[in-house]
Subunit: 405 residues, 2 copies
């Protein structure tokens, strides 16, 4: 059996649970956070650094890899694992989210979606069958159905998109030819409980080996995110892994776990790191801060990551101010380690019946940043889809987005 | 004894020699190539990667570190070694070369040189005494006298600058207060044999523990570089290390070693790497080449570096094309390893009495790139020092240069 999931211990007070996910490239203790390797590299990190940080699953982006270097190229080179030198489990998304975030660069029909590359403007066509074909060539352990990811606040659009997503899910299942990849279905339905319920009922009837909750962390108010999980997760089978796409801040991981989510991914730790922001138990620390100029302490006192074991805040601040690439990497190592370490603690707490205690204790100390403004901007951008007369890879509107941040 | 140098074996056919340089932070087998860590980081690399590549000496730039984060900051943080997490030997230049490359941003007198920061335009003053003070705060194992580095082709300027450089050398010696740093004198004299001889005679009379050949690899024709070494090196004491600043292509390292040089530094391997060019036994390989798209071989067949042991040319090409930071690092690891490995082979060959054989065999296979055009551009830029009415850190003319490339 290539793929197997079992819940090892459910929490008694909430929906949190510890499980084990078996894949052809290794076992994944859940709940798990997957760092994002959009272009077949978790930005700035080498595979051995991912291993050292405790990574057991990474995500790669089908959209990006299909365009560059191309799925056929990666297939001929043996697949994603040998290509990027990562021998652990990989999950690829379907490319859907990126394509739909291209807004005016794509045209959708029941058959599939025509879109233009953000790199060179070339035209491409993705259908459910094509999304599976490409992901089979990439060779990840977990692959995703092609879904339509609409503005989460628009009921009519979500209703129409949901039917399409469901038909596409069936086509994806039929198109699958490899038996060593687990194909997950993706639930949609925006912020509307009835649509969410309908999506859960329909997709679970197709008996996927795992389910993703899509269409969240894409601009909706955060209370709606949790409300949708509350509506959706109880309708999913207990013995299948549940994946919340695009979620990754420490406070959101706690909330997602509490709602019964097993898998998370997000660019947050890597992107923040490249912007000079690092996680501490007290909240995010901005390395630009002048007060760090002679701060000889590590980012996190007692943190076991490579960065904290070797370098001071003062040095990391210097690297950041001086525009040195090493700084981006050292920050990334720390942020990825921080989230993976948090997930380790969460798993241990669930096993010990102490999840609520850990959550309360962590959140009482950790000062969360309200990212609502960023999300609202994303939403406004997404809604205001106007014409883009020229194709420019580097324009804001013309670039595919990532969920969550 | 903090610092000691001994020639272990001279070559019988040329001036090449194998030696051992003892410093407070470790022994350095010579001839040695030192990767450049301008801003207290060898660009893209962490200290453990430098160790793995076989690095025994790195160079850091006094000019850059004085401006950012500041010598006092580094001193209060314990010096360069703990600051950057590198426990091996470090050499700092005096800042002179960078200051003089600022051209219209500086004003020179016998007392010293007033210059403006390329970062924020602020005014600073460096004297021989100040250069030593700053380098004592940084705490490198080998420090350099402040010298004036003129256009190598201008006789009158070189003659005047030489006298100043010599007076400054005396002042540097008098200013030195730490006993655990080796202060090297820097010979100047452009491409003029009589000035070179005069510089060698004068500076050796001051009895420095080591000598750098400065004012070369700064735009002069390459045959002049070697002619000057031929004139200069025989006048230097046999028992002192000789340092050729700014030299680092494989073919130039062979030539420098043959002329009796013990220490080299250059940004070439790191800078080329970030431009997507990597060393092979056949010459430089440009990773942009379309023919590498599905090339599953490592950069160098049989190369023992981390990059070649784990990644294909196809993957490195993908990372470069996709603008991924990991690619810059993996290329840098390879290029640094390649030069350090070459130096290992050179030392072994000298010990075995086979240096000429190795040189001939390597150079018959290695297709050298003529960098003359780049050098000529640098020279033209340097000569055409016109007014720079506004101070802009990012203008080409306003940025300090590195020797050699």
């Amino acid at each position: 059996m290539h793929f197997h999931f079992a819940v090892e211990q459910p929490d008694t007070a909430c929906n949190a649970r510890v499980g084990l996910l078996r894949t052809p490239h290794g076992d994944i203790p859940t709940p798990v956070f997957a760092p994002v390797g959009t272009q077949a590299t978790v930005k700035t990190l080498a595979p051995d650094e991912l291993v050292e940080a405790g990574t057991t699953l990474i995500l790669a982006n089908t959209y990006h890899l299909y365009l560059r270097p191309g799925a056929n190229v990666i297939q001929r080179l043996g697949g994603l694992h040998p290509f990027m030198g990562w021998s652990g489990p990989i999950l690829t998304d379907s490319g859907g989210f990126q394509i739909f975030s291209l807004e005016s660069l794509r045209k959708i029909s029941d058959e599939g979606v025509v879109f233009r590359s953000h790199i060179d403007g070339s035209e491409h066509f993705f259908s459910p069958e094509k999304a599976i074909e490409v992901q089979e060539k990439l060779g990840a352990d977990i692959i995703m159905a092609l879904d339509e990811c609409p503005d989460p606040m628009n009921y009519d659009y979500n209703q129409a998109a949901l039917e399409r997503t469901h038909r596409w899910a069936e086509r994806c299942l039929r198109a699958q030819s490899r038996t060593d990849q687990a194909l997950f279905g993706i639930l949609q339905g925006g912020i509307f409980p009835d649509l969410r319920r309908e999506s859960a009922r329909f997709l679970t009837s197709l008996d996927f080996p795992g389910y993703a909750v899509g269409g969240l962390s894409v601009g909706e108010p955060k209370d709606k995110t949790w409300e949708m999980l509350k509506v959706t997760v109880p309708l999913l089978p207990r013995d299948r892994p549940r994946y919340l796409m695009g979620v990754g801040s420490p406070e959101d991981l706690f909330e997602g776990v509490a709602h019964g989510i097993d898998i998370f991914d997000c660019v947050l730790p890597t992107r923040l790191a490249r912007n000079g922001a690092v996680f501490t138990d007290e909240g995010r620390l901005n390395l630009r801060k002048a007060t760090l100029a002679e701060d000889n302490r590590p980012i996190g006192e007692g943190c076991g990551c490579y960065t904290c074991r070797h370098f001071s805040r003062a040095y990391l601040r210097h690297l950041y101010k001086a525009g040195e690439i090493l700084g981006l990497r050292l920050n990334t190592i720390h942020n990825v380690f921080f989230l993976l370490d948090l997930m380790r603690k969460i798993r241990a707490a669930i096993l010990a019946g102490q999840f609520a205690v850990l959550k309360q204790s962590f959140l009482s100390r950790y000062k969360a940043v309200n990212d609502q403004s960023t999300r609202s901007q994303d939403l406004a951008r997404r809604r205001g889809a106007s014409s883009l007369s020229t194709l420019r890879g580097s324009t804001l509107r013309g670039r595919p987005k990532q969920r969550g941040v």
